[in-house]
Amino acid sequence: MDDIDRAIINTLQGGFPICDRPFDAVAETLGLTGTQLRTRIGKLKADGIISRFGPMWHAERMGGELTLSAMKVPPERFDEVAGIVNAFPEVAHNYAREHALNMWFVVATEKPGRKAEVLAEIETMTGITVHDMPKIQEFYVGLRFEA
C-alpha cells in the first residue's frame, strides 16, 4: 500500500459521489484517472483491505433490527458454538473477547421479530444463554480508520 492507496482509503471512507461517472469525479480530486482509481480499488479489495464498497445501512430505519449479543462459552466448546452462530446469515460479525462473556456477535435482521427467533434458535442449538443487548441510545457511529 502506498500514499495514493492511503489517500483513496481516507477519502472514500467519507463518502462516494452519486452521479453518472462517480469514479472519474473522485479520481480527479486524488490526481488519478477513473481507470487508475478503479484498478487500485480492485486491488485493495482483492488484498482484503476493503471489505465492501457501497452503502452502510441503518437497519432500524429499514424496518429491521440490529443487536449485540454475548454468550459465556466453555473454552472447549468455542469452535463448535462459533460454527453454529456463524452459520446464521443474520450474524454479521462475531468476535472472541477476553471476559467471562467471551463470544460477542452482531445480529442484523431485515424483518422485525426475526432477531428474537435467531437468538432463541442459537440458545436452543447450543444450550447456552444468549444475552441480548440492543442499542438504547447511540452517541457516535464514526467507524473510520486513518490509513
Binding site: Q13, A92, W104, P134, Q137, A147
Partner: protein, 168 residues
C-alpha cells in the same frame, strides 16, 4: 421512509458493492431494469432519508493495521449515562459509542465504546486517558480486547429479484 419492492431489489443488488466500471449506477440498474438516473435518484433518496448511513468504502481494520480492538465498557448511573455517552462519543479515540442494557448478574455495564489501535499498549493508554480526562475512575469498568475474529461481513438486506423479472 418506506421502501418499495424496487428499492429492496436495489438494496439487495448493492450487497456486493458497486461494480468497478465507469458507470456503476447504470450497471446496477441494468440488473434490475432501472435506468441510471432512477438508480441515482433512489440511492440519493435513501441516503437523504438516513436509510443509508454512509456510502463509500468499508475497510477491514485488521488488515489495515488496526490489530488491537477493544470494547471499553462502563456501568454508569442511569441519570448521567446520556451525558457521559455524549462526552465519550465526541472523543476522537472512540470509534463507536452506545448505551445498551446491563444483563445482571453477568454484565453490569451499560455504556459501550469501541477503541481501535495499531497495538494493544496504545489502545490501553487511550482508554486510560479517557478515564482520566472525563473523570470516569469511580465507575465500574472493563476492557474486552478481541482475541479472535470469527466472522466479519456486512449485514445482508433487501430482496433479490428473480433473473427473469430483472430481464423484463
Amino acid at each position: 421512509m418506506d421502501l418499495s419492492d424496487s428499492d429492496l431489489a436495489l438494496v439487495a443488488a448493492l450487497a456486493e458493492g458497486l461494480p468497478l466500471v465507469s458507470h456503476p449506477y447504470r450497471a446496477v440498474g441494468a440488473q434490475l431494469g432501472l435506468d441510471e438516473a432512477e438508480v441515482i435518484a433512489r440511492i440519493q433518496a435513501m441516503r437523504d432519508g438516513g436509510i443509508i448511513r454512509r456510502f463509500g468504502i468499508i475497510v477491514r481494520h485488521h488488515e489495515l493495521g488496526f490489530k488491537a480492538n477493544a470494547m471499553a465498557v462502563w456501568a454508569i448511573p442511569d441519570g448521567v449515562v446520556s451525558e457521559v455517552g455524549r462526552v465519550l462519543g465526541d472523543a476522537p479515540e472512540v470509534t463507536l459509542c452506545y448505551r445498551r442494557p446491563p444483563r445482571l448478574p453477568d454484565w453490569p455495564y451499560n455504556l459501550f465504546c469501541m477503541v481501535h489501535g495499531r497495538d494493544r499498549g496504545a489502545v490501553e493508554e487511550s482508554i486510560q486517558a479517557l478515564v482520566r480526562r472525563f473523570d470516569l475512575g469511580a465507575y465500574p469498568h472493563a476492557v474486552l480486547f478481541s482475541t479472535r475474529r470469527f466472522k466479519q461481513t456486512g449485514a445482508r438486506y433487501g430482496r433479490p429479484i428473480p433473473r427473469a423479472a430483472a430481464a423484463e
